[in-house]
């Protein structure tokens, strides 16, 4: 077994060797610009790009013509939100989203708020689920967009896309989903789920970084966007800039591989996730699952280890690459805004660890991870004044803490 063990697949994934192989000829041999219409170098890669477009489209039940290539999901989210806001501003300036969306959705919404738009953040329950009734009731005459993610990157909770799509379609509101964590992991069909705009990125599915796409529905209804970048008018004017041909080829190959094993891989990952959770639960008290117990990404396990701080825990398992919602690990020194929105107390947010499993995760690695975690948590609890107090029967909420 090779150390360190990578368990941060919700952050990024290694590029699959088959993807690298598919990309290679487009760096040196077929290096043309897909927009060069007047010679063979251009024609050749244009055809390759169109094939990739078809392949990526079909993976989500869309037509190739509905795929707009971007630099990644952050750009796709920005284009979807800012593009719709600009184009449909005469219809209205109201957007609905949730407080646990990725910052690539929340931040453009907040930027719009500064420009006179109104944003409704739906409530989420303790598992990170929205209330469909509240969504329906929040839609107004002037609502132009609902943006709700497929699966949450921190806590793994899945949104009921089909049910959301039913509501938005019946109300005539555009539905955008940030499916960065969903595409390639869970079945997504834009027609069946009545999705109008969908963001995705290659590097979460064993493709290269720096390439992604926005699906933009072309009919029933046709969705229009104002561009956020200006230039050569590529991608039907929605996204100017020379196409990242190698990236696009890699993206298509990566998605094709993920889709070919989507259900067997999901089953395998759920098995690993359960195994890790059960082994930890058997040995440790005061551990809490963050996110929905079953309606969650197959590869995500987010746990709070009560009375142990997340950064010190990660320090104790230095041969495991995991991430934490602890403030100490963030630039802002605030604990995870996602966990806060769920009503997880700040103390438990500081104690959270996210395990992200993936294609190359083996069962031995899960067992090793469980063993390491158990030792580290027990050691830190020996050192934890909070654990000691709880064990002595002290109710921590009654203690008068000296905050600093």
């Amino acid at each position: 077994m090779k150390l360190p063990i990578y368990l941060d697949y919700n952050a990024t994934t290694p590029v699959d060797p088959q993807v690298v192989e598919a990309m290679m000829p487009f760096f040196t041999e077929s290096f043309g610009n897909a927009a060069s219409r007047n010679h063979a170098f251009g024609w050749q890669v244009e055809r390759v790009v169109e094939d990739a477009r078809e392949s990526i489209g079909s993976a989500i039940g869309a037509d190739g013509k509905e795929i707009v290539f971007t630099s990644g999901a952050t750009e796709s989210d920005n284009l979807a939100i800012l593009g719709v806001a600009e184009f449909y501003q005469k219809k209205g300036k109201h957007i609905i989203t949730s407080p646990i969306e990725h910052k690539a959705v929340i931040d453009p919404c907040q930027a719009l708020e500064q420009r006179g738009y109104e944003i409704t953040f739906l409530d989420v329950d303790k598992d990170g689920c929205i209330d469909l009734k509240q969504l329906e009731e929040s839609i107004r005459e002037d609502t132009i967009l609902v943006s709700l993610m497929a699966g949450n990157n921190e806590i793994g909770t899945l949104n009921p896309l089909k049910e959301i799509g039913e509501i938005t379609r019946s109300k005539g509101v555009i539905f955008h989903t940030d499916a960065t964590q969903g595409v390639g992991k869970i079945p997504i069909d834009v027609d069946e789920m009545k999705i109008d705009l969908l963001s995705m990125t290659a590097h979460k599915m064993y493709g290269p970084k720096g390439v992604g796409a926005l699906y933009v529905r072309r009919k029933k209804p046709r969705v229009r966007l104002s561009p956020i970048m200006f230039g050569g008018g590529h991608e039907r004017g929605m996204r100017s800039g020379t196409l990242n041909v190698t990236g696009i080829v890699g993206f298509a190959k990566a998605l094709e591989l993920s889709i070919s094993e989507i259900s067997s891989e999901a089953e395998r990952l759920i098995g690993l996730r359960q195994r890790l959770f059960e082994r930890l639960s058997a040995e440790l008290d005061y551990i809490f699952l963050n996110g929905h117990p079953t309606q969650r990404l197959p590869n995500n396990l987010n746990l709070s280890f009560g009375y142990v701080e997340g950064e010190s825990l990660m320090m104790g398992v230095s041969d495991l690459a995991v991430s934490s919602g602890s403030a100490c690990t963030s630039a802002s020194l605030e604990p995870s805004y996602v966990l806060r929105a769920l009503g997880v107390g700040d103390d438990l947010a500081h104690s959270s660890i996210r395990f992200g499993m993936g294609r190359f995760t083996k069962i031995e690695e899960i067992d090793y991870t469980a063993d390491k975690m158990i030792v580290a948590v027990k050691r830190l609890r020996e050192m934890s004044p909070l654990y000691e107090m709880v064990k002595e029967g002290v109710d921590l909420s009654t203690v008068e803490w000296s905050s600093h």
Binding site: Y307, V308, E309, E311, S312, M315, G316, S326, A327, C328, T329, L333, P335, G345, D346, D347, H350, E382, M383, S384, P385, L386, Y387, E388, L396, W401, S402, S403, H404
Partner: protein, 128 residues
């Protein structure tokens, strides 16, 4: 974040982890920080009633590696000092010794507060 060697050393082999009997009048207990802030330190000292020398010190800390290291170092430093000397330990000395980066300075402040709280507690129990 990269940790200094001294932080790693104190984190991996913390000195003086444990608890003293807080009902004993020769023991002073300081509990500082708050769980929602991500750091809580409990630092205890045992004082010789005659010489006012700190003869033993123990800590328990909930917090990041730098918080654990700061409190571990604090227990090392207070031992053998009398309570007035210990009262004058500054957080900046802890920062320097452990090479703490700016974002971790609050850990050293908390350790200084913990020392002072423990001494204050001892004094309040032993007012003549």
């Amino acid at each position: 974040m990269a940790y200094s060697e001294k932080v790693i050393d104190h984190y991996s082999e913390p000195r003086n982890v444990g608890s003293l009997d807080k009902s004993d009048n020769s023991v002073g207990t300081g509990l500082v920080g708050a769980p929602e802030c991500g750091d809580v330190m409990k630092l205890q000292i045992q004082v010789d009633p005659e010489t006012k020398e700190i003869v033993d010190a123990k800590f328990k800390t909930f917090g990041c590696g730098s918080a654990i290291a700061s409190s571990s170092l604090a227990t090392e430093w207070v031992k053998g000092k009398n309570i007035d000397e210990a009262m004058s330990i500054q957080n900046t000395e802890i920062v320097e010794e452990l090479s703490l980066p700016p974002v971790k300075i609050h850990c050293s402040v908390l350790a200084e507060d913990a020392i002072k709280a423990a001494i204050t507690d001892y004094k309040s129990r032993n007012q003549d």
